[in-house]
Amino acid sequence: MDFYEISSSLLSISFFIYLIAVVFFGAILGKKRDEKQKSKLTMIGIILTIIGFIGQVASFIFRWIEAGHIPVSNMFEFIYFFSMCLIFAFLLIYFIYRYSILGIVALPIAIVLIGYGSVFPTEVTPLVDSLQSNWLYIHVTTVALAQAILSISFVAGLLYLIVKVNQEKRSKETSYLELIMYFVVSVIAFIILSFSFGAADYEAVFNLPENEDLTDISYTLPALIGPTDSELATTDHFYTGIEAPSFMNGPDAARKFNTLIWSLVTGLILYGLLRLLTRKRLGEYLQDKFGKVNPDVVDDIMYRAIAIGFPLFTLGGLIFAAIWAQQAWGRFWGWDPKEVWALITWLFYAAFLHLRLTRGWHGKKSAWLAVIGFAIIMFNLIAVNLVISGLHSYA
């Protein structure tokens, strides 16, 4: 067994330990158990999380040895490191506040992230020349840690919303909350789809007869939407015959659009099933289960996470990034999409911190902001790398 295999197995083991930990954290939900039982069960949850975390760190170290450089240089590695930081940030906040209920939101998010990251190629990749610098270690790790800590404010915000949004009747707030649930379900749908079609080695190939520059495009999901001006080469595969609108240029635009539609549709089906099972809005269902939560503490965690994450993000995402860019390219700032989105993230959290000074922006409003902040971080992580091309589109 080589280091790569050890690393992969350790990651799988950690993944399952996290899953089991969620089950224990689930003990907080519902009213069947008394407080003593609950605290005992969540304690087991915390211990399992720590074990899983140690496993993940070990997996990280083995991968590091195998690759010969810190494994944070492609999409899989970064998301995997980010999820590790998220668990770390959760544990950190737990040891400050002793508030284990966050785990029931934080852990599933970390699990979904690991699942999402595993969809990308997992082999170790060489470092292109521009990444061969000690700043890779400093810049990427601080950014990931900072974003993970900022994400804890989302975890706290989501918890706050689940508990505090009035679920007695349908409102704008309940709808937005359902939208968040739907997004999470869609990501899960995406992971399930990728793995099931991946396991079946599904591949539908399109030729582009009118475009000589581009090679064939292969789909790993059945084609609902084909590339513009294309022909299906593997004719025995399913194809609706609908082509992507012509403004979706770029070799992969149509394929990504197809995947997006699959995820959203499957997500919708899954969400519908959950609604049918619970016979309630998911937010309403969860609110019933969560019972009492101290809103002041959750609000404070939301703020504190940003108070810790913001300076760290400034340091890693802007200052270290600028120093490295100066060293690598001789310009510390170049308005590359990733840089712009780091600035956007920074501006957003700066606005958040200022709004906290204004009366009436604590509590629910802050919680919604924390959700938007996380959306920006995810956009920067996923969309900027995969959709908008730039210096960071190495994955």
Binding site: E123, W135, D296, I344, L355, G390
Partner: protein, 545 residues
Amino acid sequence: MSVKTVKCECGHINHEGTVLCEACGKPIKGNQHLDGNDDQKVLEMRYDGSARRSKTYKRTFIDKTWAFFSSVKVGVWLIIITLIFSALGTLYPQEPFKNSPLPASQFYETEYGLTGKIFYQLGFHNMYDSWWYIILVALIGISLVICSLDRYIPLRRALKNQKIKRHPTFVKRQRVVSSTDKLSDENYQMIKERLKKKRYKVKEEDGHLFAEKNRFSRWGPYVNHIGLIIILSAAILRMFHVMHVDDYVWVREGETRVIPGTNQEYYIKNENFSYDFFDAEEDEDIRFREALKNANGPIPKDFQTDAIIYKVKGETVIGQEPELEEVKRGQIRVNHPIQFDGYSLYQAGNQMESEYDRISFKVNGENNQELGEFTFETDEAPYQVELDNGMIVRVDDYYPQLEFTDKGPSSFSKFPRNPGIIFSVLNEGKEEGERFFYLGEEVIGLSEGNTFSMSVTDIEKRSASGLTVKKDYSLPFFLVGAIIFMIGVVQGLYWYHRRIWIHPTENEYLVGSHTNKNWFGMKKELDEIFEETGFAEFKDQSELK
């Protein structure tokens, strides 16, 4: 301008617009609406009820402008607007990144259709140096300065003037309070000890106690704003081109060139340009075999220029070769620029084997009998060469970058990127010979019934290294700004300004407490300090419901 004043019953003279007396904290009648204290039990303590210019004077145009920019709400709106525009600018590549020979006026429409056209027409393709984007950022800068001054000056005054003895209303209307009927001396001493242990500065007067710590954390926001203002000023400075040099130079292997942007003062020689790609066959890279197999093309490992930097010695005379003195020798690699006298050269581009350095030929006679060999150097193209046996090969025409136009063969540039050569192989003493055309790395005969033949035996190509030349005087300003910003942020976020007042009245002891943030921690600390001293459990008068 004479400043109007308000005198408090405690005798302290406050500036007009003060909400809470700077000394005793008693709410000043008629000003409570300024901080929204009218219908609230808990006093607004954000700026200690000090008199802020923006809230006090609202008559003249200057007052109104000041009030506008000093509002946090306005600041946040400016941030949000900047944020939204910044995001829109990443929708499509900015003009410098469009990576297409098409001009911007066509590129965005052809590539992205209608939305691309709108993007271009709104000027979003050059957003970040457009005048309106710069104005937006400048407005944020103005807001930063005014917000800070409007709050810092009165807050500092209020904190400086605060007295130990406060008005009972002030203490009662703090957010987290407690009280007790009886306070034994023993318990009082214990509280004092615990306060000191927690690094509070404790002051006493007539049985009143005032404990305070970490006041410096209140200045954090102003410090970080100073850092930001330095960064913004540096950015403005940088708009003037004297502040930085930004140039580009291509140097071929073996070539010495003047470095642009240095006033013809420095020269660079490219001794050797080497490059390396990841190779799954090599032991070192075998672990990447999967990734290399899946990659679209070779993955660069290293580019390196072995360079010598020269400085011109003495005065330069026009038309004369300058005398050069070596100042530095070293390697330029990505992430490892070479530096000299404030200039930096960065490895930025490469034209690998893009030019022909030398081409070797062989001439054969009848029956393939070898007559001789010669090498053609593209930079020093000879008129003719003499072979070993005394035969002459004449160069009739040389096209460094061959192309065919209506008028026949010609050269697109003087760079030997695709050389074409017409030779005549002459017998001794003759003017006319057999003609051959070298093109596309092959030789074809032009004359009919050739007795000679010519072929290519060897080709050597050379690479060119692309280097960016940089010199930037504004860097230290940015760095200092960033450091100050970080200090300010940490100072403001990681320490909390906490104050505790113990106020004896006729029949009870009141405790009021204030922290500028982290009430969760404050309550924990209060519980520890007042544990088992007879005080009632602390009450948070504005808990979230």
